[in-house]
């Protein structure tokens, strides 16, 4: 601490150079904070999209089916699904922290329109009321959403994804015939009225996807079973503890080992891949910033030492140890790192606020349909991390100047111009 104030005065003797060093550190900090903010916002957005786009927080499925097709499978045949799903549903929905447990039937088949157009589809039968309670979002482009109450026989409706509707030439109000193989292997047909057009947000899926009421899907497949139950929780962070609670509740219900309860994190392979990619990009950028700041500030610190060779020689002559000289240089570096990072933190926060208020849009990611909002999150731990990182970076940058300062020959330094 002895040389901390001394170092501050030395920094003040060349304001322009100090300002330049601070600007370099601040710019590096801003870069890190913006990247961290973008990555965090992307993680949060993707997580919400995954959970509320159809994964829920937990999946309850037949243990045998999960063992056969894996935890990450997005469609599960209703034939090998859950038979007593209503009991399971009421058991789970009685647990604290559970918003709802919505049943789903996955199906695939052929969609036909009277004009002769036919397109293969993948679909899901859902409970719209429970989906709504769980915060699942259906992005309607036209028409109406599915009604909460099960449709009566002969009054089935469907939401077609935009690409599928376009391929069929279907619009809201049109009748489309769905053909699918029942659990018994029979080819069943069901006429549905197109209630609305939706988008899944994923271009390829939009060419094949449709959504029905659970009752309609079960009618088409001639089954009472469901493929799975998706559980919505009050707090996504409780997914793992809720998984244990649900598993225990099902065991008490007498269904131990019959069901597999899987948290969304294990089903969202894409999320994990994107997360790893973004983290990799973040560290790559961090490494570039690290190297640039070290190179730029190290040069500045070396210049500061070279300009003070005679002064360092004098201090050494007066009995200042090499360690004390080193301490002075290290304090200068540390102050630059801390002040620069704090300035960068303030600048970064201001820039994040500015960018968020500008409502900027980014082009749709590969395979996606809609442009996405450019939003940056405030990441408090990134602010603290950036300050610590810059302190470390500057201390590393000071190593060469410290070596230079402590290896100066006192006699030569005293004669230095």
């Amino acid at each position: 601490m002895k040389f901390a104030r001394f170092a501050l005065r030395n920094l003040a003797r060349n304001p322009r150079r100090t300002a330049l060093s601070l600007a370099i550190v601040a710019a590096g900090t801003v870069g890190l904070l913006l990247t961290a903010g973008f990555v965090r916002f992307s993680f949060d957005g993707l997580r919400e999209a995954m959970i509320h786009g159809g994964l829920g927080h937990l999946e309850i499925a037949s243990a045998a089916e999960v063992a056969r097709r894996g935890e990450a499978a997005l469609d599960r045949p209703a034939a090998s699904g859950i038979a007593d799903w209503r009991e399971v549903q009421s058991t789970v929905e009685a647990l604290p922290g559970v918003v709802a447990a919505g049943a789903n039937v996955h199906l695939m088949g052929m969609a036909q329109k009277a004009n002769g157009a036919s397109v293969s589809f993948v679909g899901v039968g859902v409970e719209p009321g429970r989906e709504q309670r769980m915060g699942f979002k259906t992005r309607l482009r036209a028409g109406d959403p599915l009604a909460e109450a099960p449709p009566a026989e002969g009054e089935d409706v469907a939401l077609l994804a935009s690409g599928l509707a376009a391929a069929l030439g279907a619009a809201p109000g049109d009748i489309v015939t769905l053909l699918a193989t029942s659990n018994e292997g029979m080819l069943n047909a069901l006429d549905v009225r197109v209630a609305g057009i939706l988008t899944t947000g994923v271009q390829e899926l939009d060419t094949r996807f449709l959504k029905l009421h659970l009752a309609s899907a079960q009618r088409l497949l001639s089954t009472d079973r469901v493929s799975n139950l998706l559980v919505g929780l009050v707090d996504a962070r409780e997914s793992e503890s809720a998984r244990r609670t649900v598993t225990a509740a099902l065991a008490r219900h007498g269904a131990s080992g019959e069901f597999a309860v899987t948290p969304w994190t294990k089903r969202a392979v894409f999320y994990a891949q994107v997360r790893n990619l973004y983290i990799g990009i973040f560290w790559f950028l961090g490494a570039i910033v690290f190297v640039l700041v070290i190179l730029a500030t190290s040069n500045t610190l070396v210049m500061a030492v070279m300009e003070r060779v005679r002064e360092i020689g004098t201090l050494r002559a007066l009995g200042t140890t090499a360690g004390q000289v080193a301490s002075g240089v290290l304090w200068e570096a540390l102050w630059l790192g801390l002040f620069g990072a704090i300035l960068g933190g303030i600048g970064g926060a201001a820039l994040i606020a500015l960018l968020n208020s500008a409502n900027l849009k980014m082009p749709p990611p590969p395979g996606a349909v809609d442009p996405i909002d450019l939003r940056l999150a405030y990441v408090p731990e990134a602010f603290l991390g950036a300050i610590a990182l810059m302190a470390v970076v500057l201390l590393l940058a000071a190593l060469a100047p410290v070596r230079r300062a402590t290896h100066i020959s006192v006699v030569e330094a005293l004669g230095h111009d």
């Binding site: 002895k2 001394f6 005065r9 030395n10 003040a12 003797r13 005679r310 002064e311 004098t314 201090l315 050494r316 002559a317 007066l318 009995g319 200042t320 140890t321 090499a322 004390q324 006192v410 006699v411 005293l414």
Partner: protein, 231 residues
């Protein structure tokens, strides 16, 4: 008891392919409390001798004892601490630290030796007063004249009550009036405190006033003259 005792001092420098013999077998003894002028033309070895006696550099050969300690046996750190506690230095270009005020410059040797703030400040002020600079205590070096800077440098050299002060051309950057005043100050401080003072100079006016003058030429002691009733 001698403050300094040097035997067979040799020191060479390499300048390109040429070896410059700065000191070539110097023997001398300087008693505690003496004021000695090292005289000689440029390149005679005055500064080199001061550097060796001041533990700023090491000799190629020979031995130096200071206050009964052999400098050649000290580690780098021990030599640093010896300079900090037992020696004071005055340079031709003053070499004050520009970011420190006059009093902070004087405090510096006490500060690096961890003396608490209150006694440190008291001693520095008293020393500035002794050199007639207490009214300029809060001024930074850039606001002081050459003579004032050298007075501050003298205060800095003496504040920690060293056994000896080594001054390398201390009046070299001063006019004759200031040069005389600085020499008078050194002589007075020597009388009052009993500090051994070695001054390297080629100023004839100072040489004439020194009680003892050692003359160097080509790295050898060519004369060692004592005078009564001067300084």
């Amino acid at each position: 008891m001698p403050a300094f005792r040097a035997r067979g001092l040799r020191k060479s420098y390499r300048l390109g392919n040429t070896e410059i013999r700065a000191l070539d077998g110097v023997d001398l003894e300087i008693d505690a409390g003496e004021l000695v002028v090292l005289a000689g033309p440029s390149g005679s070895g005055k500064s080199t001798l001061l550097h060796l006696l001041g533990a700023l550099d090491t000799a190629d050969a020979g031995e130096i004892e200071f206050a009964g300690e052999s400098l050649g046996r000290l580690s780098e750190r021990e030599r640093t601490l010896l300079r900090r506690r037992k020696l004071g230095f005055i340079f031709q270009s003053f070499h004050l630290v520009p970011v420190l005020t006059a009093i902070e410059n004087v405090e510096y040797p006490l500060w690096i030796d961890d003396l608490p703030a209150a006694p440190r400040r008291r001693r520095a002020l008293a020393m500035l007063d002794a050199v007639g600079m207490s009214s300029r205590a809060t001024h930074r070096p850039e606001r002081l004249s050459g003579g004032e800077r050298q007075r501050v440098a003298i205060a800095r050299a003496l504040v920690h009550e060293p056994l000896a002060v080594l001054a390398d051309e201390p009046t070299g950057n001063l006019d004759s009036r200031n040069a005389t005043a600085i020499f008078d100050l050194l002589a007075a401080l020597r009388r009052e405190r009993g500090t051994t003072i070695l001054v390297a100079t080629h100023d004839p006016a100072l040489m004439a006033r020194a009680p003892r003058q050692i003359e160097l030429r080509d790295g050898r002691v060519t004369a060692d003259e004592r005078r009564e009733g001067v300084a």
